[in-house]
Amino acid sequence: MPLLAATGLTKSYGGVRVLDGVDVTVERGEVHALVGENGAGKSTLIKILGGAVRPDAGRVTLNGAPLPVGDPLDVRRRGVSVVYQEFTLVPGLSVADNVFLGRERGRPFLRRADMTREAQAVLDELGGGIEASALVGQLSVAHQQMVEIARALVGEATVLIFDEPSASLSGREVDRLMAAIHRLRARGLGIIYISHRFEEVFALADRVTVLRDGRRVETRPAAGLDRRQLIHWMVGRDVSEEFPVRQIAPGRTMLEVRGLSAPPRFHDVSLSVRAGEIVGIAGLVGAGRSSAALAMLGALRSHGAIAIDGLPARFRSPADAIRHGVVYVTEDRKGRGILPLMPASQNLTLASLDRYQRRGWLSATAEAYAAADAARQCDVRAASLDQPAATLSGGNQQKLLLGRFLLTKPSVLILDEPTRGVDVGARAEIYALMNRLCGDGLAIVMISSDLPELLGMSDRVVVMREGRVTGELDRASATPEAVMALATRSAA
C-alpha cells in the first residue's frame, strides 16, 4: 500500500478544468517528482493534497485511511506537510517561534527553552547552521527555506511536499537543500517534489509524473528518462515549433543601458535593445532582473547611464519613463498590476488618461473608444469591459496590462514574466502580439524564467546571475545549456 495515494482528483475554477482525474502516489522513502508547464495543474494538485483546496471529485488517502479535504490544519496534524513556494513565515518572530507557529508548546505560558531546543535539533539535522533564536526577518532566503522545512518536520511529518523549493536559491544553496532532502528520504519520508529544473529532478527523483493541461500524461521511474522525453510529454509537441520564426530588421538602438547599479540588488548592468528587436533577460529568481528593469524605469534608485533613442535619460519615476516612451509590465500582476475593483476599461486607460482630456475634463467617448481599441488589439476577452478586472482570467488580466501600456504609445516595452500563470492559448496570443509589436518597430525587453519561451522569442539573450550580467548570447548560440551555465554558479 502506498504511503499517500490520490485518485481521480478533479477541480474546476469558474468553468475551467484545471485538474482532470489525476492519480498520484508516493511511497515511504521515495522522492516523486512532479513536472509540468505553468498552468499544468501542479499547484492546484498540491493545494488539494495539503488540504488547502477542496477537490470537486477524487480522494486522498494516507496509509489507506482517507485524508480530510479542505482542512489544512488537520491534514498537517496527520503528517502531510507542504512547503509552499511563497513563504508563510512571520519575519518579526524568532526561528523557533516560527517553527512552532500554531503548535506552540506550553499552556498557558510558552515553554520557550523547550521550543528553541527542539527547533535547534531539527535545524541541525537539516544543516546550514541556523540559530533557532535568530529573527527570521534577518535570514537569507535560503535559510528561510530551511526554517520552512523545519516547520514541516517538527510536526512529525510522514509526507513532505515541496513546491519549487529551489526557485529562489543559488547553486550552493540548492546543493544543501538536495542533501537535506536525501537525508529525509533515508529517514523513510515520502516526498513529492515540484520543480522546473530538470537537473534536480534527475538528481533526486525515484519516479516522475508529468502533468499537462490538468491531466496526468505519464508516470515513470526516473532512471532511464531523458530531458528531451520529459519536455515532449510536458509540452505535447516539439518545443522548437512553438515559436514562429520572425524576420527581424532591427533599426536604431532605442534603449541603451551602461553600467547601471543599485547595490546590493544588481551591479554594472549593461544592455541595449534596437527597434524591432526582442532581447531576453535570463537568470534565476533573485538574479536582479526585475530590479534592473525597475531601475531603468526610475522606480528604483540607481546609478549608471541610460539613453533612450540616443538621448541620455534619467527617470525619476515611472511617470517620467512613460512620458519618454519606456513602459514596464510587472511580473506581479495581482500585487502591482491590475486594479481589481476598477472596470476593465478603466484599467486599460489608466496610464494614458491625459490623452482623453480637454482642459482637465475627461471625455467619456474618447476614453471608451481607446479602451475598446486596446481591448481589440490585445484580444482581451471579457463579456463586458465594464466588469471589474478581478473577474477576468489570468491571461486576460495580462493582456489588460499590455493594453494599458500600449495605449501610452511606448517605444520601449519591458515585459517581466509576461506569461506567468497564463494558460497555453493566451500565451500563444501574447507571443503573436509581441511579434506584431516588434514588426511595428517597438523595442522589447523580456524577462522570463521560462527557458523555452525566452529562447523561442528572443533575438538575443542577456544572462544575469546574482546581480551581474554574466553573458550575452545571440539566437544561434543561446541553447538551454549555455544559458543555464551562465545563470548558475555551479557551472560557472
Binding site: 512613460i322 500585487g335 486594479l339 481589481p340 476598477m342 489608466l350 491625459d354 482637465g360 475634463w361
Partner: protein, 302 residues
C-alpha cells in the same frame, strides 16, 4: 448585475428611502417645511466635511483633523471679521487655514510616510490646541450681522449642492479623480502606471482641509461667533457618513453620492429619534449600531 451586487451598490439609497417613508408615516411633522430645513441646516456641515473625507478614504487614508480644523478656521475667520476684514477675505482666510493644515498633513504623509491615521490624529490635537491658545479658550463674538446670512437655510443648501456637484465632477470626470480611485485601489499599480501617487495624496489632504475649512466658516456664521470647541467629534461623524455611504475604508471603492446619502441617513435618524423624544444617549447608541451595520455590509460585499 447580480442581486447581491445591486443591493450592495445601492444599499444606502434604499435605506435612506425606507427611512424617509417610515418617518413620514410614523411622525407626520417630519414632512413639514420647518423640519425639512432644520434637517438640511443641521446636516450640511457634516455632509460638507464628509465630502472632503470621501477623497481621503478613497485613497485608503483618513483625516481625523477635520473637526479641529473647523474650530481653528472658524476662530480665525471670526477674529479677522472682528478686526474689520471684509467678509469675503475673512472667509478666504478660513479656507486657506483649512487648506494649509491639509497641506501639512499631506506633506507628512507623503514625505515622512507616517500613516495618515497617526498624522491626522496628531494634527487633530495640535490644531485644537492652537484654536484654544489663539482665543485663550474664549469665544470670539461681535461679528457683523451680514456674516450670519451665509448659513441661512437656502445659502447653506446651495453651498452644499455646489460642494457635492464639484466633488462628483472631480472624482468622476477628471484624470485626478481616477487617480484617487487608482491610488486607493492599488497604490503600487497606480505608481507603476505613471500616476504620481504622492501628488495625488497631497491634493487629497488639501481638499479634505478645504472642506473642513469651509465647514468651519459656516459653523462660525451659524454661531455668529468663533468658538474654539466647535467641530468636536465632527471627524467621527464625517467618517461615519462616508462608511455608511458605502465607501470602503481600504480605499478604491465608493461614491460621493453615497457619502451624501450616508450623511443624511445619519442626520435623519437623529432627527427622527428627536421627534420621538429619544434621549441623546440612546441616539448615540443608535448611530453606533448603524455604523457597525454599514461596516459589516462592507465586509460582506467584498
Amino acid at each position: 448585475m447580480t442581486a447581491r451586487r445591486f443591493l450592495s451598490n445601492y444599499a444606502i439609497f434604499i435605506a435612506l428611502a425606507i427611512e424617509c417613508v417610515v418617518l413620514a408615516i410614523a411622525a407626520p411633522s417630519f414632512l413639514s417645511i420647518d423640519n425639512f430645513s432644520n434637517v438640511l441646516r443641521q446636516n450640511a456641515f457634516p455632509a460638507i466635511i464628509a465630502a472632503g473625507m470621501t477623497f481621503a478614504i478613497l485613497t485608503g487614508g483618513i483625516d481625523l483633523s477635520v473637526g479641529s480644523v473647523v474650530a481653528l478656521s472658524g476662530v480665525l475667520c471670526a477674529d479677522a471679521l472682528v478686526h474689520g476684514w471684509p467678509i469675503w477675505s475673512a472667509v478666504a482666510a478660513g479656507l486657506v487655514v483649512g487648506m494649509g493644515i491639509g497641506l501639512v498633513n499631506g506633506l507628512i504623509v507623503t514625505t515622512v510616510r507616517v500613516p495618515p491615521f497617526i498624522v491626522t490624529l496628531a494634527m487633530m490635537l495640535v490644531v485644537r490646541g492652537a484654536a484654544f491658545k489663539y482665543t485663550d479658550a474664549h469665544t470670539i463674538s461681535g461679528l457683523p450681522p451680514a456674516f450670519a446670512t451665509l448659513s441661512q437655510g437656502v445659502a447653506m443648501a446651495v453651498v452644499m449642492a455646489v460642494v457635492f456637484a464639484l466633488s462628483w465632477a472631480v472624482l468622476m470626470r477628471t484624470p485626478f479623480g481616477r487617480h484617487v480611485y487608482a491610488t486607493g485601489g492599488n497604490r503600487d499599480a497606480a505608481w507603476l502606471s505613471g500616476i504620481r501617487v504622492d501628488r495625488v495624496l497631497l491634493k487629497v489632504y488639501v481638499i479634505c482641509g478645504l472642506g473642513a475649512g469651509l465647514a468651519g466658516v459656516l459653523v462660525a456664521s451659524r454661531l455668529n461667533a468663533g468658538y474654539p470647541r466647535a467641530g468636536e467629534l465632527y471627524e467621527l461623524d464625517a467618517v461615519a457618513a462616508v462608511v455608511v455611504g458605502g465607501t470602503s475604508l481600504f480605499g478604491g471603492r465608493g461614491s460621493i453620492w453615497g457619502t451624501l446619502a450616508g450623511a443624511f441617513f445619519i442626520g435623519i435618524l437623529n432627527n427622527g429619534l428627536n421627534l420621538y423624544n429619544v434621549s441623546a444617549y440612546d441616539q448615540m447608541i443608535a448611530k453606533g449600531a448603524v455604523l457597525l451595520a454599514a461596516a459589516s455590509l462592507d465586509r460582506w460585499r467584498s
